[in-house]
């Protein structure tokens, strides 16, 4: 056993758990998944007064009733005794409602303290909160602060130390008094022995049994005689337990707050901005406009970083020349220039965009705008099994899939996040838009518009089908229900905290992405490099050997190679075609093109001479719906931290792209 003190963070979504968690741990955090569950597990550590603390950010849930994996995980974690102290978060600007978690916690015997977050907004709303009075009533330390302001954390540390040293337990006696007036509670409680679940009092268990909590009931069924359990069943079936206990909990909250909080009579009307967002007709355009503006703003911080990437990439030629002049072997030069410099330059450019997107949309999330987005697109996105927020990554992906992936961070539910990313891949990114219209114009002239419309329709169908296929494994029934969510008041963002967090995240993403991209690029390089003078590389041999098969998908081996290259980066696809049809050396062509070596000047004639219209159509669909690029692949892995799901998505997209190519080819054959 380590001598670290473990803190668990407990709170409803939007209570500010992540803000607190990030501020406390800085970059000392590890994000993974709870074993076997589609729920994210965030752990971290920090040191204060030379004492080490481990901190677990428990999954966000609205209560402690076992309705979803999130709640069961949270409860089991507390029952396991792994936490020395639980920090319960509430939003002090919406105190009445957000103290529900505290009320639901009452009866659990693990030491705890209460953190009232968003002190600044409560103050703006004219609320005065008497912390001392609350402490007296609850018998636990209470802190009032704004989690986005690290300067206020002194009181947090004090409360933490006090809770740990004195093992302060929440006084639940008044709530139990309220429960005992409820029909059925006293009989239930009398039947339940102490210690059925460690760390949970019999009164807590009785209240959950009354609320039809499935896990508690199963536990009771196992420990009680059949006769006794029958009685439990009869009691709970006779009443609407959750409604009764809910009423008791809020009555308790009212009692706690009376005398401790005074607030002005509030004006409940919507603000100007909310009147636009919630408008029947203006709402959706306003949200889309907001996201597009966010996208444009993301480029401002992105451009300098992208510039560094480009400058780095331009080192490729001078470095190659310098190495050649000192007589370095070709293998080394090729590996260094075509793999290392090339991929680092590529990653830097993408990363600039990720930095921008994370910063801007992180800010929109903190302000509270993403909650409005959720509201406006709830109906539409629910059809895909997603929440309204998912519309943002989709729109951002028209620019860059990696940005969309980074943007999906604002979706708290892991399964929905993975599904959102899986669908965002179907959105043709900027690189696809730079290639597709040009290719289409060469082959179809004005028909380019028809092709683009066909692509957009295919995209929607693709997303719909993909949602059906992937949704089953990712989005649990409890998340398929419609929205029941609070719209938080607008917050002023704290740039400092956000900036530090985003920098850290970008560094993390960089390290993870570099590993994956390098790995993929080295594999590509091995496959496409001629190790023996005069012999053809493996990729070439495979490509030509399976040409009879790829022909069925409408692709000659040259086109198929370009398709393969497009999974590394779509920008290079045209270059690869040009180089191959020009009969250049295979490896050279491949790298020159992937390095943005430019498109052959005679591309039009080359294509017209070698590629038929149905083939062109097949190729256009193949590269549009192929996986976006190797960097998007890597950032997907970084974001969902599941190699299994990343691989599933990548393989699925490659297969679907080929199927779509085949369909396009055969449709093309019918037309022309």
């Amino acid at each position: 056993m380590s001598n670290k003190t473990t803190i668990a963070l407990l709170g409803q979504p939007n209570a500010g758990k992540s803000t607190l968690f990030n501020a406390l741990t800085g970059m000392n955090q590890h994000v993974g998944n709870w074993p076997g569950k589609t729920v994210e597990k965030k752990e971290g550590s920090f040191t204060h007064n030379k004492k080490e603390y481990a901190i677990a950010d428990l999954p966000g849930s609205y209560s402690l009733t076992a309705n979803s994996d999130e709640e069961v995980i949270t409860r089991d974690f507390i029952a396991s005794g792994n936490a020395d102290v639980v920090c319960i978060l509430a939003d002090s600007s919406q105190l009445e409602r957000s103290l529900f978690m505290l009320a639901d916690y009452a009866g659990i015997t693990v030491p705890c303290f209460l953190l009232l977050n968003m002190a600044d907004i409560a103050k703006e709303k004219g609320k005065n909160i008497d912390v001392k009075a609350l402490e007296d009533k609850l018998k636990i330390p209470v802190v009032l602060l704004s989690a986005n302001n690290k300067k206020e954390y002194k009181s947090f540390y004090e409360a933490l130390e006090k809770a740990v040293t004195n093992k302060t337990c929440l006084d639940s006696s008044r709530l139990e008094d309220a429960y005992s007036n409820l029909e059925g509670y006293n009989e239930l409680k009398a039947m339940i022995p102490e210690g059925v679940i460690s760390n949970y009092s019999s009164s807590w268990i009785a209240s959950k049994a009354l609320e039809n909590d499935s896990v508690v009931l199963a536990k009771l069924e196992n420990t009680m005689s059949a006769d006794d359990y029958k009685k439990v069943d009869d009691i709970r079936n006779a009443v609407q337990g959750a409604v009764l206990t809910g009423g008791a909990k809020f009555a308790w909250i009212d009692e706690i707050l009376s005398g401790a909080v005074d607030s002005k009579k509030e004006n409940v009307s919507l603000g100007k901005l909310d009147r636009i967002y919630t408008h029947k007709f203006l709402g959706k355009p306003a949200v889309i406009l907001t996201i597009l503006l966010g996208l444009i703003m993301s480029f401002i911080p992105a451009i300098p970083i992208m510039g560094v990437g480009m400058a780095f990439g331009s080192l490729r030629v001078p470095v190659a020349e310098a190495l050649t002049s000192i007589g370095a072997p070709d293998v080394i030069i090729s590996l260094l220039c075509n793999v290392v410099i090339q991929s680092l330059a590529f990653i830097c450019q993408m990363l600039g965009f990720v930095f921008g997107v994370t910063l801007i949309f992180g800010m929109l999330e903190e302000i509270g705008i993403m909650a409005r987005v959720s509201y406006v697109f709830d109906n539409t996105m629910a059809k895909l099994g997603l929440q309204g927020k998912s519309v943002m990554p989709f729109l951002v992906s028209f620019g860059c899939t990696m940005g969309g992936t980074a943007g999906s961070r604002v979706i708290e539910n892991w399964g929905q996040k993975v599904l959102t990313i899986a669908l965002a891949w179907a959105v043709p990114c900027g690189a696809a838009w730079s290639v597709v219209p040009m290719l289409s114009t060469i082959f179809f002239g004005n028909g380019v518009f028809v092709v683009i419309v066909a692509i957009l329709i295919t995209m929607l169908l693709h997303m719909w089908i993909t949602a059906k296929i992937f949704g089953r494994g990712l989005v649990n029934a409890e998340n398929k229900y419609g929205m029941i969510m609070e719209l938080p008041p607008y917050h002023k963002p704290k740039w400092g905290a956000l900036f530090r967090y985003v920098l850290g995240r970008t560094k993390d993403t960089f390290l993870r992405v570099v590993t994956v991209v390098m790995l993929v690029c080295v594999v590509f390089w091995l496959l496409s490099y001629s190790f023996v003078e005069g012999s053809e590389p493996i990729l070439f041999r495979i490509g030509t050997a399976i040409e009879p098969v790829t022909k069925f998908f409408g692709m000659s081996w040259e086109l198929f190679m370009a398709f393969i290259a497009s999974s590394v980066g779509k920008e290079g696809a045209l270059g690869v075609i040009g180089a191959l049809y020009n009969g250049q050396n295979f490896s050279g062509a491949f790298y020159e093109a992937m390095g943005g070596g430019g498109v052959a000047e005679n591309l039009n004639e080359l294509l017209a001479a070698n590629v038929s219209k149905p083939q062109a159509l097949a190729f256009i669909f193949a590269i549009t719906f192929n996986m976006p690029c190797v960097v998007a692949l890597a950032s997907t892995y970084q974001e969902i931290h599941s190699a299994k799901w990343t691989a599933k998505i990548a393989i699925y997209y490659t297969v679907v792209a080929l199927i779509l190519a085949m369909i396009a080819y055969h449709v093309g054959l019918l037309i022309w």
């Binding site: 909990k249 419609g482 609070e486």
Partner: protein
Amino acid sequence: MRLAELNENKEAVVSALSGDNRFISRITSIGLTPGCKLSVVKNDKNRPILVYSRDTMIALNRKECEGIEVTEVKE
């Protein structure tokens, strides 16, 4: 009457809740319990209903809130 039948800017008190365990638990956890006062801020078709209750602006999916019975409070 059902919550969705209330017009904008009307006040009401929750009178009864009905639905499965998950719904009851979720709706109580967000503060809508019998006896609780609320006012309808926005009620447009094809959008979640917006109500204000217990210090909080709450968005409720229309299908989800079919299980919320209310009694209108006349001023």
